[in-house]
Subunit: 230 residues, 2 copies
């Protein structure tokens, strides 16, 4: 029986965009597990698995329900230990937490603010209303004002990727010679940007972009199967 | 036969300060390997092991000479696989590279510039001359001007530690429940600051400082055995 993944979508169900759901899709594919995605708009999240979680991703694997992308990755690692590892050992499980924090604090904020209207425009009206209300409360300003000045912050965003960029001079993936969940953590953020926004977050000559392109081709091109936003 | 470690010192041989040498000392202690340190001023580095390396740390283990702290940690891990692991598996070896890059690009620059005169003042005259020449070339300004304005940059330095700070809410060490080499990477930088400079880099109520204090007590208080700079 395949695993069910509740996957965040807007108007177009073929363009799921949540960074955290992308992490889980890559993790499921990495483990070689069959899964089906259930397109889930923002306002449908409270009804997922009878209110199992306030956030998605949520997976159902038989009778087991797990939410939170990192918890799901750990669940998959320990439930399917004989399939390809997502962490490469206990040290990797711990250090992936650091990379998650780095990604969340360094990569996410600029995308979340810069792509805010791009996300909004790709939602159904009922989800737009929810999104406007929750995001205006979070940013304490009208939705339309949040991305203003993103061009001025772009250089800093790119500069802040330096730890990843220089590390890629040593090895092709954060996980080493081959990707691990730590790669999918950062990939998820950049795939979110790619799927939801036509804005040019990465420069084409950036080694980070070369790594991102490699990740798009993994697992029979799972990431690339959704075209970039136009 | 114990391992020899060439350890960077200034005037006071009992206060070795190199961040990279501290990483190696912690790694040697973690592995439970006996080692002796050979106090090595800047201008003595070219003569270490007949010019084996332009930088220290350098270790000699029997007939094997290894330089570069990360290479030394990998050497110890693979030469002494039955002693406590420094990486917790292959994934940890790869991800520790990312943490090294993050530490080098996020933690080191502010310490290197802010503590520059503190280092200089603690060197012998012959090393001072070498240090002034190489650092003035690197920073392209007189040594005395480099730390100017450090108070204005302190808040940003502390803010940039956020990935480590928030991760410490999930687990006591970067390596998880117990420390790994990834902890020693960041510890080395902060121990460098602590040993060489009385400047207050960390706030006393910062979870990063609590973690640093835990690291100071590891391995029978190896780090704490050198008092903080006064």
């Amino acid at each position: 029986m395949s695993i069910k993944l509740y996957d965040l979508v807007g108007k177009d169900h073929s363009r799921p965009f949540s960074p955290h759901c992308w992490k889980v899709k890559m993790a499921l594919a990495h483990k070689g597990l069959s899964f089906e995605t259930i397109p889930t708009p923002f306002t449908a999240i409270p009804a997922v698995e009878e209110g199992a979680s306030k956030i998605i991703p949520v997976i159902r694997d038989g009778d087991t329900i797990v939410s939170d992308s990192f918890a799901i990755a750990l669940y998959l690692e320990h439930t399917y230990p004989h399939r390809p590892t997502l962490f490469g050992g206990e040290g990797g499980e711990a250090m992936a937490r650091f990379i998650e924090r780095w990604s969340f604090l360094t990569v996410h904020p600029f995308i979340a603010t810069s792509a805010l209207m791009d996300i909004y425009e790709r939602l159904k009206p009922v989800d737009q209303a929810h999104f406007r209300k929750t995001r205006e409360a979070r940013f304490n300003k009208p939705l339309e004002e949040v991305p203003v000045g993103r061009d001025n912050r772009l250089e800093t965003f790119r500069a802040n990727l330096a730890p990843l960029r220089t590390m890629l001079g040593d090895q092709p993936f954060i996980g080493g010679a081959t990707p691990l969940f730590c790669d999918y953590i950062v990939f998820g953020a950049l795939q979110w940007a790619r799927v939801i926004s036509p804005y040019g977050f990465l420069a084409g000559d950036d080694p980070v972009d070369a790594w991102f392109q490699r990740c798009l081709q993994l697992h029979e091109g799972l990431g690339a199967s959704v075209p970039a936003a136009a």
